[in-house]
């Protein structure tokens, strides 16, 4: 049963709850849409918003409706209010607080001195060569990891989409690493990469490629690549899930049409199918990039707070500076850089989603 359910995007899966066909999705998906055409109609008919407003308050109906609306706002507060307060405080309040801390010179024991604020920490950052290295590694990691995971995930999704037997089993296995803690996967991969007994080197020796065996996790040349590969192992299954949902949303008729035209399978996917997966690619890429920015657990388990200059990334640097060297303000400044980078990705993404009414 699950392959059918799994086929569609998550919001399409609630078939049992909705009464009237697939068009509900496009209506209910965005509030922009529902503002223009209220989903709730007090009289059961179609009420055109603009018309009511034009006729002014003399008309009893719009004022009744707006009062109704206002009362729904009040009614709704008890539901989103308490979680909203938690989010507002813990997410946005904390980020604001973090920014203020980054403007103090706070380090060591004691409390921050909020009376003298300056951008001193950011000036220091710009001159800090370890920040440059970590910044560069972060960019390499997020780019290589994202592209690699997307490519592998797409290939997996296409393979799994070939009406195979045991589809569920294959899919479950590919996604399995995603359910594991980074502490667990880091321990597995430190064993995989072990220079003398690890599986990677053992396999290379077994096929006569002794020359390629490396001390993967201690050689500065290969460290970052080894991390990227292991993270790809963990996240490509996620990309497969996203792409599979995208593939299943493409109507069967397009495959048939391309076949009738005599297009080869490669051509079919390259020209017809993959271009339609842009939305899947974008949303998966956002999640991957944001993850790459905050990736910490995996590196921390492998290297502690000092991965060395060749594998240091901003999220690890932030932890090292703040919690190991207790330079709180400096660590907060590194964290603000991370936040700004994440904002640079999710800001445009959320705006686009909003514009397309898919929020």
């Amino acid at each position: 049963m699950s392959s059918g359910i799994f086929a569609a995007l998550i919001r399409d899966t609630g078939g049992s709850v909705r009464s009237d066909g697939p068009d509900v999705d496009s209506d209910a998906a965005g509030d922009e849409a529902s503002d223009a055409e209220p989903r709730v109609r007090t009289d059961g008919g179609t009420v055109v918003d603009g018309a009511g407003e034009r006729s002014g308050s003399a008309d009893a109906e719009p004022s009744l409706r707006s009062r109704f609306r206002r009362s729904r706002f009040l009614e709704s507060i008890p539901f989103w209010g308490p979680p909203g307060v938690l989010v507002l405080f813990f997410v946005y309040g904390a980020i604001g607080w973090n920014f203020v801390i980054s403007l103090t010179g706070w380090e060591g024991l004691g409390s921050p001195d909020y009376s003298s604020l300056s951008t001193e920490m950011y000036t220091q950052l710009l001159a800090d060569s370890s920040f440059h290295a970590a910044f560069q590694n972060t960019l390499v990691l997020l780019f290589a990891f994202t592209v690699l995971s997307l490519v592998v995930g797409l290939l997996l999704a296409i393979l799994v989409d070939q009406k195979i037997r045991l589809e569920n089993t294959f899919r479950t296995i590919y996604l399995l690493p995603m359910s594991l803690s980074f502490v667990v996967t880091a321990i597995f991969w430190s064993w995989m990469y072990n220079p003398s007994n690890g599986l990677i080197n053992e396999l290379l020796r077994a096929i006569g490629l002794d020359a390629l065996t490396q001390a993967w996790l201690s050689d500065p040349q290969f460290k970052l690549a080894a991390i990227i590969f292991a993270l790809m192992w963990q996240f490509s299954g996620y990309c497969m899930v996203v792409y599979l949902a995208g593939l299943r949303a493409i109507p069967e008729s397009q495959y048939e049409a391309a076949r009738i035209d005599g297009a080869s399978t490669t051509r079919l996917y390259w020209r017809v199918i993959i271009p339609q997966l842009r939305a899947s690619t974008m949303s998966a890429a956002v999640v991957l990039v944001v993850f790459a920015l905050k990736a910490f657990d995996f590196l921390f388990v492998l290297f502690g707070v000092n991965p060395g200059q060749s594998a240091d990334i901003l999220s690890v640097m932030m932890y090292r500076v703040a919690f190991d060297r207790v330079q709180w303000a400096y660590g907060s400044a590194v964290a603000m850089v991370l936040f700004a980078m994440a904002l640079g990705v999710i800001g445009p993404y959320l705006y686009l989603q909003y514009r397309r009414g898919e929020l």
Binding site: I5, L9, I10, D12, R18, S19, V24, D25, D31, S34, R39, V40, R72, F73, E75, S76, P78, F79, G84, L86, L88, F90, V91, I101, S111, P112, L159, V160, I164, Y174, L175, L176, S179, L180, S181, V183, V184, I187, F188, W191, M192, G198, L199, E202, W233, V241, A284, V286, F296, D297, G304, L314, Y319, W328, G331, A335, L338, F339, A342, L359
Partner: protein, 294 residues
């Protein structure tokens, strides 16, 4: 070539490509399972065994042992208990808050709710590093144990702080998951109840909540895995060793038994066991939770 021949050769060509397809699929299975399989085999070997055999090979006779498992379990048992005590309530609470928020921001429509919703959604993507320093400041300032004179609060202060933190940071993703589901609930049905005089709370309790069972399953499973697996918040917020969660305990185990790979692997499996069980039983729900993040 006759038509029948052509059909046959097409069929064998097809068969060949099907075989190739399955071979690739199986190779990928090997790729995804290799680290786990090697780990599992290693966990059952003596040090002599894992030094002299290939990681994925079965333990040779005489080099088989379960002692690593016993020791790993002993080392991690208090961490397992702490993780469970913290993760289960935190999961339930964040799912409940997510459900409430999604209902208030989806099924009760009002002008401007999209703006509030945006704030929730953006919270999914926040790098936790951006809140770590204020969080430690906040929790040391709040000092629950010092303010609430209850033995329970004092004893588990670190876990309570960690749990509340996880609830707060879990709300955004839970809201997103519930929202995409609640957007599919038939509005006419809710409207009919409203016209019958049912309040928003009654509609939530009587109609929306009973319909939410599948999405609750998805959210609870996904969120439990996330909270159980976290390391960063736990190392930053919990300083008391008796409050240590299992990921932190596992990391310490790994750091203090550097060359004992059988112990490390056994420890990794012990710590991962609850999430593995949940995944094997509810893989479908987990997949939906993962997909909902987009």
């Amino acid at each position: 070539m006759s038509a029948a021949d052509r059909a046959r050769s097409a069929a064998t060509g097809l068969d060949r490509s099907r075989v190739a397809l399955y071979l690739v699929l199986l190779a990928m299975v090997a790729f995804y399972l290799a680290p786990l399989e090697s780990g599992l085999m290693t966990a059952f070997k003596t040090p002599e065994g894992f030094r002299t055999t290939t990681p994925f090979a079965l333990p040779p006779i005489g080099e088989f042992t379960v002692s690593a498992w016993g020791m790993a379990f002993e080392r991690l048992s208090s961490g397992l208990l702490n993780s469970a005590m913290m993760a289960v309530p935190a999961t339930v609470l964040s799912a409940l808050f997510g459900s409430l928020a999604a209902y208030g921001l989806t099924n009760l429509s009002w002008r401007g709710q999209i703006g509030v919703l945006m704030l929730f959604v953006a919270g999914v993507f926040i790098p936790y590093q951006a809140v770590l320093v204020p969080l430690t400041q906040f929790w040391s300032f709040v000092d629950l144990g010092g303010r609430i004179p209850l033995a329970f609060v004092d004893e588990y202060q670190g876990l309570i702080n960690l749990g509340i933190t996880h609830v707060a940071y879990g709300i955004p993703i839970c809201t997103v998951l519930f929202r995409s589901y609640y957007a599919t609930i038939d509005e006419d049905m809710l409207e009919a109840a409203r016209l019958d005089g049912a309040s928003a709370a009654t509609i939530y309790r009587r109609i929306v909540l009973p319909l939410s069972v599948p999405i609750f399953a998805v959210t609870l499973i996904y969120q439990f895995t996330q909270i159980w697996n976290d390391l960063l918040f736990a190392i930053v917020l919990v300083s008391d060793p008796s409050n240590q969660v299992v990921t932190v305990a596992l990391n310490q185990l790994q750091g203090s038994f550097v060359q004992q790979f059988n112990l490390q692997m056994a420890g990794a499996f012990v710590a991962a066991l609850p999430t593995l069980v949940v995944y094997v039983l509810f893989g479908e729900q987990f997949a939906k939770g993962v997909a909902g993040e987009t």
